[in-house]
Structures are given as structure tokens and as C-alpha cells.
């Protein structure tokens, strides 16, 4: 039987009149990386804050590692780690001071803390560990924040947009650590992200949240397969003429105007290419570039919500 470590039932949170989370049901299994995907303001961080006991639900229930988030908050705090959206670190403390303090907050001795600092070496730049955090780059801060959240070897790790604003190299470092934590130590990871690529790369299962509600859930490949379509990305000079030309083509399911190209959903991409090109050519539309690709999570999000995720820095 699969061990569920996070379970929510009709979880809600309101801020005054605004309902930020509207009846979220989740079941995250032990040992998985669960990606919580959605645009800014979808309610991801609010859900996380309820699960890590920083915010009380206004309705519904949530249990983490078997404890209720309201009644069992103390027990939950001992066993979870969390790196929140903005790497929240005291700028006038050194990296070592922050990590040792973090260890002490979780009851670790100085020796245990120093052992953990050594063990988390992949996230820590030792030549900077005795410098004030104020001198760290964004990537260094984010990795130190992650190291701080791991000081006490948590069973369950919450990462709230862990790579937002990071350069590609730092992003890959964080991804590798997340994968290693999960694969080598069995740490369950609940990861929120607005980056589709991140969810695709890391998550065993993805929950898609929009406007405070879960609109889809499953393994990334299953979600993409569920759309049942390939996508033709076609660069043309005259979008209006192209859309009109494709309206009556039988193999075309849906046409969307992207920022630089038309996105044409078709059931069988390889078979549909010739029909689409012929239709465009007949209408006098010049095809500058055509790419056939499988659907992305962005396409899944579009299918489920009617919108694309707008990523903010």
C-alpha cells in the first residue's frame, strides 16, 4: 500500500473576501517528487504555507506525515524542511552562522551541525562560507537556503519556486541536488514552480493549479498524452490568412496564434504535415518554418485552462 505523506481534502484559504485556494485535494506519496505547477497568483505558495504550518486553512483539512497541519504543527515542523520563494537569509550573518543556527533550531549539537555542513558541500561554496550573506550572489543564496532547509535531514522537503531568478548553471545545480535527495535518500519533495521545463525535468507527478483550484494531475507524460495531439509550430507571414486556410482542414484540431508562430494541434503530426502545408500553399500563405513537436506541459495547461502560463522573473 502506498504511503501518503501529504493529504488535503477540500482545502481552502481566504484573505478577506479573496479566496486564494478553493477546495484543493492532494495526495502526495512517500518518495515522489510532486510538482505543483501554475502561474503567478494561482495559489501555489498559499497551499505550501498551509502545508508547512505557516498559514491556517480557512476550510478543509490537511495532514502532513500523518499529522494535522493545525493540531500537529509541532510534530510536522520537526520532520519537514522548506525553502521558500525568496531565499530568506539574514544578510549580516555568514553562511556558516546561518547553517549552525539552523541546526541549533532543530536541536542539533554544534558537532552535528558541522557534520551536516560538510555533507551538504555540494550546495555550499566553502570559500564564501564565512562571508556575510549580503555579499552572496542570488544563486549562492538560493543554494545556501536549500542547504539550511536540509540541515536536519527532513523526510519531506518543500521547495517553493526554488530556481526562480537563477542563472541556468545554478538552476541545474539545484535540480541535481533535488534529484539526488530524492533518489539517494528517499526524501519526498513537494516542489512548486511556474517553469514547465522544471516540472517536466523533475516531477514524477504534476498537479496543475489555476485560480486556486487543481485543474489537472498526473505524470507529465500522461498529461501530455491525454491531450492526444501533436503540435505543428508554423512560422508564416500572414497569420490571418493562415488561420482562415486551416479552418476547414480535417486533420486540424485547433489553431492558436503564438507570439512568433501559429501553434496547430493535430491528431497525428507526421500524417498531418502534408495536408496542412497544401492548405496553406493553396491559400497563398508562404510557410517560412515548420516544426513538428509533441505537446509540452504548456500545451496541457492551455488545454485545461484556456491560457498559457506567463512566467515572471
Amino acid at each position: 500500500m502506498t504511503n501518503v505523506v501529504i493529504e488535503t481534502n477540500a482545502l481552502e484559504r481566504s484573505f478577506g473576501e479573496v479566496k486564494a485556494v478553493r477546495g484543493v485535494d492532494l495526495a502526495v506519496r512517500a518518495g515522489e517528487i510532486y510538482g505543483f505547477l501554475g502561474p503567478n497568483g494561482a495559489g501555489k505558495s498559499t497551499v505550501v504555507k498551509m502545508l508547512i504550518t505557516l498559514l491556517r486553512p480557512t476550510a478543509g483539512t490537511a495532514t502532513v506525515l500523518g499529522h494535522d497541519v493545525v493540531d500537529g504543527a509541532s510534530a510536522i515542523r520537526l520532520r519537514i524542511g522548506a525553502a521558500l520563494q525568496d531565499a530568506s537569509l539574514d544578510e549580516k550573518q555568514s553562511g556558516r552562522e546561518i547553517l549552525r543556527m539552523q541546526g541549533a533550531l532543530y536541536g542539533l549539537t554544534r558537532k552535528e551541525s558541522d557534520t551536516r555542513i560538510e555533507e551538504l558541500s555540494s550546495l555550499i561554496e566553502f570559500d564564501a562560507i564565512d562571508r556575510w550573506i549580503g555579499t552572496y550572489s542570488g544563486g549562492m543564496r538560493r543554494r545556501l537556503d536549500l542547504a539550511a532547509s536540509l540541515m536536519h535531514n527532513p523526510d519531506l522537503l518543500f521547495l517553493d519556486e526554488p530556481t526562480t531568478g537563477l542563472d541556468p548553471q545554478s538552476r541545474v545545480q539545484v535540480w541535481n541536488e533535488v534529484r539526488a535527495l530524492n533518489s539517494q535518500f528517499g526524501t519526498t519533495i513537494f516542489l512548486t514552480t511556474q517553469y514547465l521545463e522544471e516540472a517536466d525535468e523533475l516531477a514524477d507527478r504534476v498537479g496543475i493549479i489555476n485560480d486556486g483550484k487543481i485543474v489537472g494531475e498526473g505524470a507529465p507524460e500522461d498529461l501530455k498524452r491525454a491531450i492526444g495531439a501533436d503540435v505543428l509550430q508554423i512560422k508564416v507571414g500572414d497569420h490571418d490568412a493562415a488561420v482562415a486556410a486551416l479552418e476547414d482542414v480535417a486533420v486540424v484540431d485547433h489553431v492558436e496564434r503564438g507570439p512568433r508562430a501559429l501553434l496547430v494541434s493535430v491528431t497525428d503530426g507526421a500524417a498531418a504535415v502534408s495536408s496542412v502545408v497544401i492548405a496553406l500553399d493553396s491559400a497563398g500563405v508562404i510557410v517560412e518554418e515548420l516544426t513538428l513537436r509533441t505537446p509540452t506541459l504548456d500545451d496541457v495547461f492551455l488545454e485545461l485552462t484556456g491560457d498559457r502560463i506567463e512566467v515572471s522573473a
Binding site: 505557516l54 491556517r56 519537514i80 530568506s88 539552523q102 533550531l105 552535528e112 535531514n153
Partner: protein, 273 residues
């Protein structure tokens, strides 16, 4: 995917466990104490202001006051030293740093750890207490340099510092209450306004007898009047248990009010979550 990261494959079995109240308190306090010398802008004015008023008040009022109310024994420099101490320690706190913690999210990081909630505030006050004791030292040295002496000796000097530091600690409840309630650095800075009625509607510049009747009435309700009296007694009167007792009682009453406000504000902030 390529990577230059080597992830450790062996890890210790270190596990989180609840720590005691005192360990939580010391963990929070250590960070706050470390931060004090790193933010000299937070305490340097507290050294300048008392020294300035000490010198200026003596220059302006020494000749007017000495010998008039209490005969030849009255020494205005001794009279002014407790005022300088009160000016040095009133309003000194880590409240602005607490606001920074709240606004940057570091306070959330502390809250999601198993640390007890009360030490999050009391730990800052431990650092405040150590700072106000440290601030008393140069002010006393200044007093000794200009000829102030302690009629109660070294022990009296220690009690003198302790009363000043306890007053400073009692007062910190106000800025902490504002910090926790508003999380606004400007609001915390404006808490300095509370300092004025406490510090000036009292015997900070001249003895009670010199005050106009209306101000004398107000001064009698101002706890600083009794704190100053108690501290002054250690300089000039020898051991006066009544004056010292009233000073400690005044500190206790003000501390009870301000710290209650701070605790309520802490509870309110935790309840927001």
C-alpha cells in the same frame, strides 16, 4: 544533463529533535548579539545623545541649581548622570531588525522551525539587555571623569547600571509591540516619540522642586521620576532601600505594560498565520 556538482552519497543519520526553552532562547539571542556590532548605526547615536545632553545640561544649569534646593551637598553633575544613562538606554532594541526579519521572510523561516515562539522575542531582549549594559559603561566613565562619585561604592555602581539596564529592557516592549503589529520600519522609528514624554516630563533636568506645579504633578506619575530618584540615591544618599525599591517597582509596572503589549502583538502575528 551535465553538471559540475558532486552530490554526497553518504549522509549522517542526524535527526531534528525538540530543544529546551533555554537552548531556543540562547540560539535566538546569539544571533542577535552577533548582529549588534555589525550594525553600529543602531547604537552609536545612543552613545552620542546622552553625552551631548550630559555636557549641555551641566553647562546650562549647573550654576543655577547647585546650592539652591538642597544646600551645599547638591551636585548637579551627579544629578545629571542618571539622566544620561536613561537617555542612553531608553528605546534601544532590535525591533528594527525584527521588522527586517518579518519583511524579508526570515521570521517565517524561524517560525517553520520547531523553535518555541516566546524565545523568538525574548532572545532579542537578551541582546538588548547586554547592549544597554554596555552602553552604560562609557556614560559612567564620562561621569567619573567629570568628578561624579558613587556614595555606595562599587556595588552601588553595579546596581546603578542594573537599574538603568532594567529600565531600558522594560521599555523595549513598546518598539517590539509596534514592530510585531505593523512590520513597518517607519512605525518602529516613530516609537522613539514615546521617549520624549517619559524623558522630559520628569526630573531629568532639574529637581522636582524646580518644576512648575503642573509639571510636578505629571512627573509624580512618570515612572522615570522614581527610576532617576533611585539611581541618584546610589550616587549621593548612600543606600536608600525605599528609593531603590520605588525605582524597581516603577520599572516593573512599566515593564508589565510594555511587555504585555509586546506579547499580545507576538500572539497577534502568530495568529495571522
Amino acid at each position: 544533463m551535465t553538471s559540475n556538482v558532486s552530490v554526497n552519497t553518504v549522509r549522517s543519520n542526524v535527526r531534528a529533535r525538540p530543544s529546551g526553552f533555554l537552548q531556543d532562547l540562547w540560539t535566538v539571542a546569539k544571533r542577535a548579539i552577533r548582529a549588534v556590532p555589525r550594525e553600529p548605526e543602531a547604537f552609536l547615536p545612543a552613545l552620542f545623545i546622552p553625552a551631548f545632553f550630559f555636557v549641555v545640561n551641566i553647562g546650562a544649569l549647573q550654576d543655577l541649581t547647585e546650592g539652591v534646593p538642597s544646600g551645599d551637598a547638591f551636585n548637579y553633575r551627579s544629578f545629571q548622570l542618571p539622566t544620561a544613562i536613561i537617555f542612553a538606554v531608553t528605546g534601544i532594541s532590535r525591533a528594527t531588525a525584527l521588522v527586517t526579519d518579518i519583511t524579508t521572510g526570515y521570521f517565517d523561516r524561524l517560525l517553520l522551525s520547531p523553535v518555541r515562539r516566546l524565545p523568538l522575542l525574548l532572545g532579542l531582549m537578551v541582546a538588548d539587555f547586554m547592549l544597554v549594559v554596555a552602553l552604560c559603561v562609557p556614560v559612567i566613565i564620562l561621569g567619573l571623569v567629570v568628578g561624579v562619585s558613587f556614595g555606595t561604592g562599587l556595588l552601588g555602581m553595579v546596581l546603578f547600571v542594573l537599574i538603568g539596564a532594567l529600565w531600558g529592557l522594560a521599555f523595549t516592549g513598546f518598539p517590539y509591540a509596534i514592530a510585531l503589529k505593523t512590520a513597518n520600519p517607519a512605525a518602529v522609528a516613530s516609537s522613539f516619540l514615546l521617549f520624549f514624554p517619559f524623558a522630559f516630563l520628569t526630573t531629568s533636568t532639574v529637581p522636582l522642586e524646580f518644576l512648575t506645579p503642573w509639571m510636578r504633578s505629571i512627573a509624580r506619575f512618570n515612572p522615570i521620576t522614581y527610576v532617576l530618584d533611585g539611581m541618584r540615591s546610589l550616587l549621593s544618599d548612600g543606600w536608600d532601600p525605599s528609593a531603590i525599591g520605588k525605582a524597581l517597582l516603577a520599572i516593573a509596572i512599566l515593564g508589565a505594560v510594555s511587555q504585555t503589549l509586546a506579547m499580545l502583538a507576538l500572539r497577534g502575528r502568530l495568529a495571522q498565520s
